[in-house]
Subunit: 212 residues, 2 copies
DNA sequence: GTCTATAGAGTGATAGAC
DNA sequence: GTCTATCACTCTATAGAC
């Protein structure tokens, strides 16, 4: 990809994150890149084309992130791996914040993203199942329990920034989102799992309380 | 409030729910109401004025709903009261779905809604605390646990429709949102609480599984 | 109260010179 | 590849007749 194309995409992501997808015009992107509208349109025919390229970028980054991950999830590795995952949600936050508008206007991305979400939830479920096997989590107490939990965990991660924006809470995004995840999981941890989690947070008083 | 004003607000809510707040023009609202743009502007100076009136309507309905509620929450009354609350999220879904765009463009509503959310979370917390007193829920196992849980419950309720739209799942909104709430709470229920919950769902196999 | 007509500022996208 | 100029359109809001 040409340098100009890369610069356009970078400027676009920054602007989208700042003002929201629908509030950024191709004029804004052009001037922020330092080129003319005509030139921008030469590189990307439409605004949708820019979005599609960014989405490809998101998928690529996420895949390379997941492929680099330890296959044996322990409490510690899960804790550490949450960091880059949450980081992606932040880097391309406009996509997750404005997802409803985006899929309304772009059926192609809508479909891709839908299966992507499905994959993510199943990935979480697999980590939970494996944690049962390694004795960090208790077995399901009723059928479907961990499917539900996976779904809620996904919601927590993918809407965390959204709720933070709405409530105008500024705190440490990574830290708080990760705390919320662990607090949700705690009741399902075995004694072994709890002990492992405690080791991670031992330097702190406890898993941080929400700021009410 | 004049009949015309009421008709405008009703048409506006319907259109906002269908197409999303930003995608509805005052022309759309006028023609859907069956009046001219000029006439619409006579009744509401700006699009923001329409939104503010709708927001007032939401608050009024919610207050009258909460004031009519049993003060002694049991598992059964909580279950029943979830229905009208979830119903409100559905009736004014555009507000919750497009909340980010709405607060971006309307600081006044942003501030009101922020304190409103705060109240809701504290209300949930109060219900949990009371449920501990009545023996339906276990005492907190660590400080801040139920504050966290209240927050997550609020997220689940307020983003449920959002995730449903994104994932293009059509199922029964009330039924599924309520199941998600109970599934989140189950690990914290006492034996008494579990028994009471079981009574409610006894005609079903179990609390419904998510559709994967 | 209700209408038509229009101002004025945006938008995405394109034509055509260099 | 890059630019300027412009088309064709949509939007909110208002002016002024009835």
């Amino acid at each position: 990809m040409s340098l100009t194309k890369q610069k356009i995409l970078k400027a676009a992501v920054d602007l989208f994150n700042q003002k929201g997808y629908v509030n950024v015009s191709i004029r804004d992107i052009a001037s922020s890149t330092g080129i003319s509208v005509g030139n921008l349109s030469y590189h990307f025919n439409t605004k949708a084309a820019i979005l599609e390229n960014i989405y490809q970028q998101i998928i690529t980054e996420r895949n390379s992130l997941l492929s680099g991950i330890q296959l044996i999830p322990t409490v510690k590795t899960i804790h550490e791996q949450l960091s880059p995952i949450i980081g992606l949600y932040q880097k391309y936050q406009f996509f997750y914040l404005d997802i409803l508008e985006i899929i309304r206007a772009n059926p192609k991305i809508a479909k891709l993203h839908r299966t992507h979400i499905q994959t993510q939830i199943q990935y979480i479920k697999a980590v939970l199942d494996y944690s049962v096997e390694t004795g960090n989590m208790l077995p399901e107490s009723h059928k479907g329990q961990y499917q539900h939990l996976s779904h809620t965990l996904w919601m927590l991660l993918s809407f965390w920034l959204h709720q933070q924006k709405i409530r105008a809470k500024e705190g440490n995004y990574l830290h708080e989102a990760r705390s919320a995840v662990w607090n949700l999981v705690i009741p399902y941890l075995s004694d072994k799992g709890k002990k492992n989690l405690h080791t991670i947070y031992e330097k702190q008083y406890t898993i941080s309380n929400p700021k009410s």
